[in-house]
């Protein structure tokens, strides 16, 4: 399914889409792909495959630890394509999330081509602003890939308009001013930001803000088209004593989240 179809069918079921992030190669390539399959089986609609990067300035300690482990294990950028294929094969929609330098180093057009050929739906770029994205916009047009830029509570109205206009697939509302990480208390800036985005675009709005359980997912689902979860999923694997219990914890959390996005109040 394309990203647009994922959101359309979720809307038809009166629910939000569940978008889950895991970095490829954590703790190694094979196990990370197994974990992504687990997420699909448990109900994730879109899987964001993270590209490990040496300087993850937007990520909190949880994701930092995971990508450090992935890099120490020798994970390469090209490993994302195997993960993307596996997710597509398992029946969910694969997207890639990456800091910009690994993509630029790979070659923007080459990356787009490989992503498209492996069945990827698009790319989420947390440190690339649309005004620096000329090359990526051209490549994503050529290979018909979705491109997702981020908006923030501090975005001006003019930037919301121009950023949303540059997006295809959905708009990523990063609703916490701060590095990534699970939070006990959800940000109250999120509903307002989602409303502001909706006012300027017809694209679906995905909200990421440290959701870590089904109850919080339901809360976010009440105003967002997509609920994005990252650190909490990574924690399942990071905190587990062994491989099986990690996969088990991950499965249970995704089931809980999938119920959450269907139980919007």
């Amino acid at each position: 399914m394309s990203v647009r179809e994922v959101f359309a069918s979720a809307a038809a079921e009166h629910r939000s889409a569940l978008i889950g992030y895991l970095p490829v190669g954590f703790p190694n390539v094979a196990e990370s792909i197994a974990a992504m399959r687990t997420m699909v089986a448990a109900g994730a609609d879109i899987v964001e495959v993270g590209v490990p990067y040496s300087d993850p300035v937007i990520d909190g300690p949880t994701i930092q630890s995971a990508v450090e482990i992935a890099l120490r294990a020798g994970t390469r950028v090209r490993d994302v394509f195997a993960a993307v294929e596996a997710i597509a094969e398992a029946g969910a929609t694969p997207m890639v999330m990456s800091y910009w330098n690994p993509i630029e180093r790979y070659g923007v057009a080459e990356f787009a081509r490989a992503l498209s050929f492996s069945g990827g739906a698009g790319l989420i770029t947390p440190d690339l602003l649309p005004e620096e994205a000329t090359e990526w916009i051209a490549a994503s047009d050529k290979y018909q890939l979705d491109r997702v830029f981020l908006v923030a509570p501090s975005s001006t109205q003019a930037r919301l308009v121009s950023t949303a206009a540059a997006c295809r697939g959905f708009v990523y509302a990063a609703s916490v001013m701060g590095a990534t990480g699970a939070r006990d208390q959800l940000s109250n800036a999120a509903p307002a930001l989602a409303r502001r985005v909706r006012a300027v675009t017809d694209l679906p709005v995905g909200v990421g803000l440290g959701v870590s359980n089904g109850k919080q997912a339901a809360q976010v689902a009440s105003y967002a088209d997509g609920v994005i979860v990252g650190s909490a999923l990574v924690s399942c694997l990071l905190d587990a004593s062994d491989r099986d219990s990690g996969q088990q914890a991950l499965h249970e959390l995704v089931v809980d989240l999938a119920e959450g996005v269907r139980a919007r109040p």
């Binding site: 040496s54 950028v77 330098n101 630029e104 602003l129 001013m177 701060g178």
Partner: protein, 413 residues
């Protein structure tokens, strides 16, 4: 201080220098960067602001710094060497020029807290100093490895009232300190200003920090005219992020008869993997908010840098330097740890001046360029070296390098 920019290197748009520079940051920071750009532009056109900055530079930092004719050193290096004594500034380096400017801007924006990253600790000390002077809260991020190499500066910052946070991720040096400072800033941007210490980072930092450091070159130009009746033949500076270098180069950019040289930290040698020479030994990439030259592997992962000098131990370089390298206006070469330490000792023994190890890289560079300059000019060249900092902070490193504190005699060459 004027805000005119030299047309040959003015950012083309949104802080680009050719294909370098720009902004590669999360959207959450864009509003703050825009605010900073606006406040900075407005401040530089406001006589009250520039007067206050000039007054601080003169009465507090001790400017203008001397341009010293180093006769004994000149004999050794085969060039008439003039030292621009930034080491005599308050806090012992050029860093104070930039920090005073940014502290004034912080106040103008109504923010109450500053954060900074530091390698050698010179910028951290300068930031802590300005925070004390301006009554701002101050947190300095410093790689754990650097807090050990530069323990004295950690104590100075704490004495000045700053909080020093040792960073334990990654290579535990300047690059990781900068990552941590960015993470802090994303969540505190409403009331906190990030005082970047060099000419790296997203727009407007490379332009703004350059403009605050331009005073070095502006003074040098006048002082050289007075001393020599003409401009020098060459200007040399060490380059890590590159703020002292761009500061002294900038007002000479259109003087095409003045050769400009930036000396990067070559560590064990650029042909080894242990160096910090982003231009000489790196490639084009994006790091910490801007496109420039970066030490990286085939996948774009940042490679660890190495230099005996904590202040140059950084895998990137300011984007304007990347551009000046590409246009050929400035020549960048690498100087090894060994060469720098020899030059450090030479300055101590000939002039009684103990330079920072960073600045010693620029001195060492003179030795390598003097013969070709002499050949080209048919006479002894006049070379200005930016002595960007003093060496007190490096005593432990120097003591162990030259074996100065062991029981055996310390008279090693």
């Amino acid at each position: 201080m004027s805000t005119e920019t030299n047309t040959s290197t003015a950012p083309h748009s949104a802080g680009h220098f050719g294909r370098f520079g720009g902004r590669f940051v999360p959207e959450a920071l864009v509003a703050a960067l825009d605010e900073l750009t606006a406040v900075y532009t407005e401040a530089m056109a406001d006589v009250e602001f520039t007067d206050e900055l000039s007054r601080l530079l003169m009465q507090y930092a001790g400017r203008p710094s001397l341009l010293y004719d180093a006769r004994r050193l000149s004999v050794e290096l085969g060039a008439r060497v003039l030292l621009k004594r930034e080491d005599l500034n308050h806090t012992g380096a050029h860093k104070i020029n930039n920090v005073l400017g940014q502290a004034l801007l912080t106040r103008r924006m109504g923010k109450r807290r500053i954060i900074a990253e530091t390698g050698a600790g010179q910028h951290g000390v300068a930031a802590a100093t300005a925070a004390a002077l301006f009554d701002l809260e101050c947190t300095v991020y410093m790689g754990e490895l650097d807090t050990q190499r530069q323990a004295l500066n950690v104590a100075r910052m704490r004495l000045l009232g700053a909080t020093v946070v040792p960073v334990t991720t990654g290579s535990r040096t300047l690059k990781d300190a900068m990552n941590e400072a960015f993470r802090d800033w994303v969540s505190t941007v409403e009331h906190t200003h990030y005082v970047i210490g060099s000419v790296g980072g997203p727009h407007p930092f490379p332009t703004m920090v350059r403009d605050f450091q331009r005073v070095i070159g502006a003074e040098t130009r006048q002082q050289a005219q007075r001393l020599l009746g003409k401009l020098p033949d060459a200007v040399c500076a060490c380059v890590g992020g590159g703020s002292n270098a761009i500061g002294i180069f900038y007002d000479f950019l259109s003087d095409t008869d003045v050769a400009l040289y930036g000396f990067e930290a070559g560590g064990d040698g650029v042909n080894t993997r242990r160096h910090a020479a982003a231009i000489t030994g790196g490639s084009s990439g994006v790091l910490h908010g801007a496109r420039s030259f970066v030490l990286q592997d085939a996948d774009g992962q940042t490679r660890e840098s190495h230099s005996i000098s904590a202040g140059l131990d950084y895998p990137g370089i300011g984007p304007e330097h990347a551009w000046l390298h590409e246009t050929g206006r400035v020549r960048y070469e690498a100087v090894t740890d060994e060469q720098a330490m020899q030059a450090l000792q030479l300055l101590c023994r000939t002039e009684g001046i103990i330079p920072a190890i960073e600045s010693a890289h620029a001195l060492a560079g003179v030795r390598s360029i003097a013969p070709e300059l002499t050949l080209r000019l048919g006479r002894t060249p006049v070379v200005v070296v930016n002595l960007s900092g003093r060496g007190d902070k490096d005593m432990e490193t120097a003591a162990s390098w030259f074996n100065l504190v062991s029981e055996s005699p310390a008279d090693r060459p």
